[in-house]
């Protein structure tokens, strides 16, 4: 009985207010959750790695601008640290604008931002891995030995995409297989690199709608620029009763335009939602820090476990999204290559 009372007392002590609360006169350091989350999933002119005490450690990437009034400007984003450099300031979306006669004008901006730098790093990684694989195949006879090393890791995935192309496209699948493999591995590698929480990972590239839109447009142009006559005839002049002939082409063209839109949004939203969920889970720890050790302790354990679970789910979603994008691209190409 006495032991029970002691345990109960120890438990109630945990509900005392935490000593981490601000003292009189200090500013209240409330964590701003939306800005933390958006700074991790958005693009920025510098790559912020960590904060040591008050000092922030970041890689300041180059800003490359061309403005119609003052020509080319190339400078490190460190110069914009105070928020202003020469005529350039940040607008409310965080992009650099030039003050021309008091009005904000957005110059032609081809800076190396965090997403561009991550794109370069991941492309370099893909190139290195696959050139090494190709080197194995150049020096060994495929029919007499099975691959070793990195070629053994990549071969099942490449064969999976190759077989997907063969069964969906038909006889001339070899022409489209390079594009499908590129799309698959680009999405797969960038998804995985986005899950890694520290430099050089964690840049949320496929959660950027511009990147996914370009991938979907690549599929769109591949499908429509290499479509057979039969495909266009089925779309624009189908074999239907006369009263349907005006609306069927409209519906078909609309669906052909909606396919890249759905590819874009599917990949973008899946990756973005995954990142936001993981970041929210981790931010729970910081929000609970002020509420006393009784809540802080268990919630930290829950948050870490749940965050780990979400990270593993993200790995699965990364693979599934790459697979679904490539599968749908191959299906669309197969439909476009049908020969009557």
């Amino acid at each position: 009985m006495k032991r029970l009372l002691l345990i109960l007392l120890a438990f109630l002590v945990g509900f005392l207010p935490s000593s981490a609360q601000p003292q009189e006169g200090e500013a209240s350091a409330d964590i701003d959750i939306p800005s933390v989350i958006f700074s991790h999933i958005g693009d920025s002119y510098e790559w912020h790695i960590t904060d040591i005490g008050e000092k922030s450690i970041a890689i300041h990437l180059p800003v490359i601008l061309y403005s119609k009034t003052s020509g080319w400007h190339i400078f490190s984003s460190k110069k914009m640290e105070e928020g202003q450099y020469g005529d350039f300031v940040f607008n409310e979306d965080g992009k650099i604008v030039e003050m021309v006669d008091g009005a904000q004008v957005r110059p032609f901006d081809i800076s190396i931002t965090k997403n561009v730098f991550s794109l370069m790093l991941s492309s370099l990684l893909i190139l290195i891995i696959f050139l090494l694989c190709a080197r194995w195949y150049k020096h060994h006879d495929v029919l007499s030995e099975s691959p070793t090393g990195i070629a053994a890791l990549m071969e099942p995935l490449v064969m999976m995409v190759h077989n997907m192309a063969k069964e969906n496209i038909g006889e001339d699948y070899r022409r489209y297989s390079p594009y499908l493999c590129t799309a698959f591995f680009f999405i797969l590698f960038n998804n995985f690199i986005g899950i890694i929480p520290f430099f050089p990972g964690g840049a949320n590239l496929t959660g950027n709608i511009a990147i996914t839109m370009v991938l979907a447009l690549c599929t769109f142009f591949t499908v429509n620029l290499t479509g057979t006559k039969h495909y266009y005839k089925e779309m624009l002049n189908p074999d239907v009763p006369v009263f349907l002939k005006p609306i069927m082409p409209v519906i078909e063209v609309f669906s052909a335009l909606m396919k890249p839109v759905s590819l874009t949004i599917r990949l973008f939203a899946n990756m973005l939602a995954g990142h936001i969920m993981i970041l929210s889970m981790v931010c729970i720890i910081f929000v609970m820090a002020k509420m006393g050790p009784a809540i802080f302790g268990p919630m930290s354990v829950v948050s870490v476990l749940f965050g780990l679970f979400l990270d593993l789910l993200e790995c699965l979603v990364a693979f599934i999204q790459a697979y679904v994008f490539t599968m749908l691209s191959s299906i669309y190409i197969g439909i476009a290559r049908e020969k009557g």
């Binding site: 759905s262 949004i265 599917r266 973008f268 939203a269 899946n270 939602a273 599934i320 999204q321 679904v324």
Partner: protein, 85 residues
């Protein structure tokens, strides 16, 4: 007179954010129901014919991807409703 008063109340009550939350919940509900039905059909088919499990698994993943795409359209719209000032 009353309509002007009501309009002002509605505009200032940030109803966009409130309904964005409801919209996200409905999108999650729709995705769960859709993918649940796909999973149910796949389970029953694999139980009837276990050797076709590989084919059925690929088709299930593709169909689930399409259903999730539709649900995520709604999620993106809700996110825009919350974020855009």
């Amino acid at each position: 007179m009353i309509s002007m008063f009501l309009l002002q109340t509605v505009a200032s009550a940030a109803l966009g954010k409130a309904f964005a939350g409801i919209g996200a919940a409905i999108a999650a509900l729709a995705a769960a129901i859709g993918i649940g039905k796909i999973g149910q059909a796949t389970m029953e088919s694999i139980a009837r014919q276990p050797e076709s499990a590989g084919n059925l698994r690929s088709s299930m993943i593709v169909a689930a991807g399409m259903v999730e795409g539709a649900a995520l359209f709604a999620i993106i719209v809700c996110l825009l409703a919350v974020v855009i000032k």
